[in-house]
Amino acid sequence: MNAVTPMRWYTAWWNRLFFWIAHKRPATTAGLITLSLIHYARWVIVMPNQFPRLSPQQPQEEVKYAYMLFFSNFNGSWNQYVDSFSSAIPAGLNLFWFGSIKYPRSVPMLPFHRYITSNQVWTDYYYNAYPMATSNDIKSARRVKLALRDFMGEVKAASPDVFLQKYNSLLINLQHDISQMGPNPVVSLSASAVERNLNKEGVARKAMSA
């Protein structure tokens, strides 16, 4: 998701302060971590004089507002994402979008949805190195790898009985982290359409290479 929202240049300094505090005190983003839908997100405030100008022939921008660009890489559907945010961390959203012109606040949901929709810009090209994995999968995969590494060291010279005992402990410790991934359910009509197009593209490529 990409959203672009204007704010007065002087309120942008307040936002920068809030973000600076959030950066210095990671506990302030505990709500975001609990939501666990997000791989990576960023807020970028571009002040009126910060639009890159690479040549004298390029016209100088004359905007008065600062613009906050928000980018989020999340798993799940748009509605799941926006509603989770609005329900789980309404105060945090209000702080991050403080000063954005006509920001309606995160609750109630419908004006918030309208605000996001009207300020959203569609992505022309998106790449994800692990489109099948959620953010939680990445984190749990790391725990699986570390636990397996320890287990391998512990059972190197173990008898079958000791092996079984330690193996069972391993499974108990990893019970929240081991799960087999499968094909996604259809989360939206657009996701379904993308899937159909990809399949068609795959068939066409196979035919071309045959």
């Binding site: 990576y40 960023r42 807020w43 190195a129 692990y130 099948m132 699986v144 499974l171």
Partner: protein
Amino acid sequence: MANQSGNAYALTMLCPILGGVPPDAPEGMAGQTYTARLRNVLQTLHMNEESPMAQVPNTYLCRFWVLSDVPYQGKPAFLEHLKSDYLVFSSNFHGELEPYLEGMWNALKDGVLAILWHCVGHETVRDAASFIAYVKKCQVTTTFFFNGSTDEPLAEQLKNLYLKQEFSKFAFENQGKSGQELQEAFRGFIQRTDPENLAGPTWKPGAYHLDRVDAEPETAAGAGSK
């Protein structure tokens, strides 16, 4: 303020797009602006494991879009417009900026030039060093970067995902076995999955289907090395 969170880097760049219509056009693109031509290039790139970005080491997630104007919020807000369109490239990756861009140049030189051809100042980009200099001119500093995932090298993330999937299958398939049978099966699992070998077997960067995800060492190059 915060382009980095641990070892993860958030690159945001706004490249001004040339105004007007390019002098020559391929069939079907006559009269199209630089912005329209650029959108066409971006929207026809291959996806998933065939994406050009899958060849760029350590790219977690990235996107391209065009900022063609700023949104108007209605009265009493000012109505204002941008004088240029901007190509927005945002990438989340492991490591430092310069080695990442060098890796991108080495993997995708022609693709990079094909995209930047639509942008102001593209003629200054000739090699890795000038590409890095160009990106830095277009870079805008991230105000706040939130990392809800991990910041390991991509090759480690992909190997971990591979191991998670394979070990989950192993646990499911070996329920109720004796200690001896299980120990033997586990030896086979370790031999097959080679947990410390990041080069493979592992997952292919960008793979979207479980039946196409496993990569042997020679096809896992895009994940980059540690």
